[in-house]
Amino acid sequence: MNESIVWLTIFVLSIFVGVEVIAKVSSTLHTPLMSGANAIHGIILVGAILVTGAADSTVTLVVGLAAVVLATINLVGGFVVTDRMLQMFGGARRPEVTRREDSA
């Protein structure tokens, strides 16, 4: 099978999965979901590391490292801020609140 077709297949299937998994989200979670999805595309960091590791001149190295820094901010910051939002509500809500009041 032509390799491009394999890529196209993965692409199309991923579209369906992407829509399906979030189709039933409640509006309360729109912001955290957006933020979480935002963190996930920070995985471009993998690409940034690969191209930087193959850099052949000072200029390409500097550009690559800039990409690594930016992608890391997106990835790490994205997950941390999403977690901060979600601390506020969700599963362990009750014990969470009690604990915070105790420590306050």
């Binding site: 991923s14 690969l50 690559g64 997950f79 999403t82």
Partner: protein, 460 residues
Amino acid sequence: MIPTWVALAYLAAAICFILALKGLSSPRTARRGNLIGVVGAAVALVVVFFEGDLDHLVPILVAIGVGTVAGVVAARQVQMTQMPQLVALFNGVGGGAAALVAMLELHELAPLGDRAEGFALAATAFTIVIGSISFSGSLVTFAKLQELITTRPVIFRGLPIAFGGSLLVAVALAVLVVVEPAIGWGILLALLGLAIGVLLVLPVGGADVPIVISLLNAFTGLSVAAGGYVLDNTLLLVAGTLVGASGTFLTKLMATAMGRSLLNTLFGALKGGSTLGASVMSDRPVRSAGPQDVAILLGYAQRVIIVPGYGLAVAQAQHTLRELVDLLSSRGVDVDYAIHPVAGRMPGHMNVLLAEAQVPYEQLKEMDDINGEFKQADVVLVVGANDVVNPAARSTPGAPIYGMPILHADHAKQVVFMKRSMRPGFAGIENELLFDPKTSLLFGDAKDSMSKLLNAVKAL
């Protein structure tokens, strides 16, 4: 060639991302979902170092360290009210990273000339332009939300032509990248992408900015996906496509929740619609009330509904509001919060802000659940909100928010607005409800008024 176990690890990471999105779409599993996403990212970041021989390991690790510190500090320090801007910023730098990665790939591919695969070159061009649009567009949304620039739509004569022209030139440049690969075209394409991003976001009004953040988020996802094709990396393709698809769908959901169509959001202002009207303060008579008057209304009511808005959060008055509600409840008043889907600056933002003030989740009622109860409410207290209770959304077909679902505060027996001034809301339009005979206004900073109101109720 990628080692098999590395490819399998990427597959595991991709599955983690799918489960992360799935988890994030339900309140019970949301936090766990986010953590699963972290696991996926961690797996991918370890195995990438085994994918092939990488040079410059030390600078790369240092750069990751710098980015981690910057990301964590920003995410920890930010005020919850400013969170939407931070998400925009994170999205922008992600788009910027994707564009830079594609530039370096073009630098690799260009010397191959005719031997470079046309489709890979096209994907590279796509990543450069979309990544750049996402970068500059997100910076403009950041500036709008931070109110560094006006939140009103910015339009100028010739903007549609400049925008359309830039798009055409971008397509032409992308074709050049494929036919005649050279890094110069890539740089021009990136600059053009930056310009397009600015032109895309400038005409968007403040209230619609969250929809645009979500759209740009989807853009970044797609550029990462295209980058994955270029780099022969299935994880980037899958993760980018997931975000691109779910982001696009989420954008649509948000637009629906706000009663807007996506096209109208982006280009509504260009048609010279009424979004530009009513920037002047009205001098029509209103009934203003003091804290004591409002305290009596609330203290002797049976049913009170609170409509919190962004103004409440900005004034950091949510803790005082919770005290007031606790006090009223102890007096036997039945109190609930009515949360509009887009209260705050983003869908769900208000839930986060009130949860931070430790308001019990059970008191937060979603719009569809509480709208029928306004008729029975003795008093509705609107704190720092405006557009979400504007009856023009139901009654005035010409209004820019016409069709947006609103909270039916106007059905209550009495309405009290706590407002800083008569300035219109984020959408920039006047609210008829303010002039209704059953409405009283308590002017002042929300926190200040709220403390006075609290003391007045205590004194009853």
